[in-house]
Amino acid sequence: MTLVDPIDMSLLDAKFRDDIKSMPDGEEISACFACSTCTAACPIANQWKYKPHQLIRMILLGMREEVLSGKEIWECLTCFQCQERCPQKVRITDIFFDCKNLAAESGKVPEKVVAIAKELIDKGQLYVVTSDWEREDLGLEAAVPGLSTDGIKAILKETRTGRLVKGGE
């Protein structure tokens, strides 16, 4: 019995690691020496098939499909505990953000996250004031002073958010 299935070398995509390295805060990834401190720091790694240190190793090996199609990157709490404790200064949480962006570029985004994107495009915010009487009771203006959603809507219509929302319709 083997503990881990052998990796099929022919399925590895060496470009994956270069993609990540060229993305924001991705450069340090090669410094990982697989100590798994990140996994020890992660509050939810026990829920995952692939733990944070394994995901970093999988990126370095070129296991693009497994990383980008898995649920792990989307369940990352973005609490930055792994990144904060990495002795090699690998920006793990930031790298998982990069992975999500790569997944999003090929349209692989969980439905409920697409719904959030749609809110941003349609309403320009994630929460809209509904109980304005509550605000007035507290001496606040019913509508938030200065609020204007035109800017964010106009910007996101033209970036990937807009394409994701259109693709989902």
Binding site: I44, E75, L120, G139
Partner: protein
Amino acid sequence: MVSEVPVYNLYMGCSVPANYPNYEAAMMKVAEALGMEFEYMPDVACCGSPNLRAIDYFGWLVVNGRTLAIAEKNGHDILTPCNGCFGSLKDVQHHLKHDSEDRVRVNKELRRYGLEFKGTVKVRHLVEAIYTDIGPDEIRRKITKPLDGVGIAIHYGCHLLRPADVTEFKPEMLEELVRATGAKVVEYPLWKQCCGATILPVNEPLAIRLARDKIRSMKEAGAEFATVVCPACGNQLDLQQLGLKESYGEVYDLPVLLYPQILALALGIGEDAVGLRMNRVAADSILGHLKG
């Protein structure tokens, strides 16, 4: 000595005004009492949250770069009461200052709005600004109804603390601010742990479990109250206690206060002015801990 009143560009984000007007009211009252001027920023809305960063990094840079550029027009620091907004603005500021290629790309977009990001204003979280610009000593001098040493557990929230090289926040700041009100800070094992808010859309049961871990850790350490400085964390620790009744059949009855509510009460401001009745777990028992 002439002391200038510090002026800030107030960036509320979307969650506080919609879900926590009591947080907004309390911070405005505190600002008035401490001599800080909060001016609501014009033409801004949501920061997009970590969800936007996840699916559309460039869009997230432009949206928050735009907010930063608007603040640069009058030159006052940006101040926000939300950890999510703070994390977004602070991280985008950090990135655009260090990545000249992205700065050029973002500025190309901002030119259409007659704006340019230069990186000249600071991004401040409400509690950091109170700590740095007013300070615990001045607060102590102004307090008329100090707390009686009641034990309060602090939940900082991830995006206030980390990544530390970006947020530049020190936990001692909020600790000292809580102590300045007369309360005792209760240490508990899971103080650094996440409230779970971010993954509510993709794994709700796991998010609820994380909130439960947190609340239990606070209770077991003897906290009578908890305090938060973020609306998303507030949802998870306060509102989610109602969810825990449903999903786990457990009742914790741990009142959760927004920090400026505690400070305002200690400064002699009334409970109605800080919307104490809006807190989901009844929090009026804090009134019995005010002296004077």
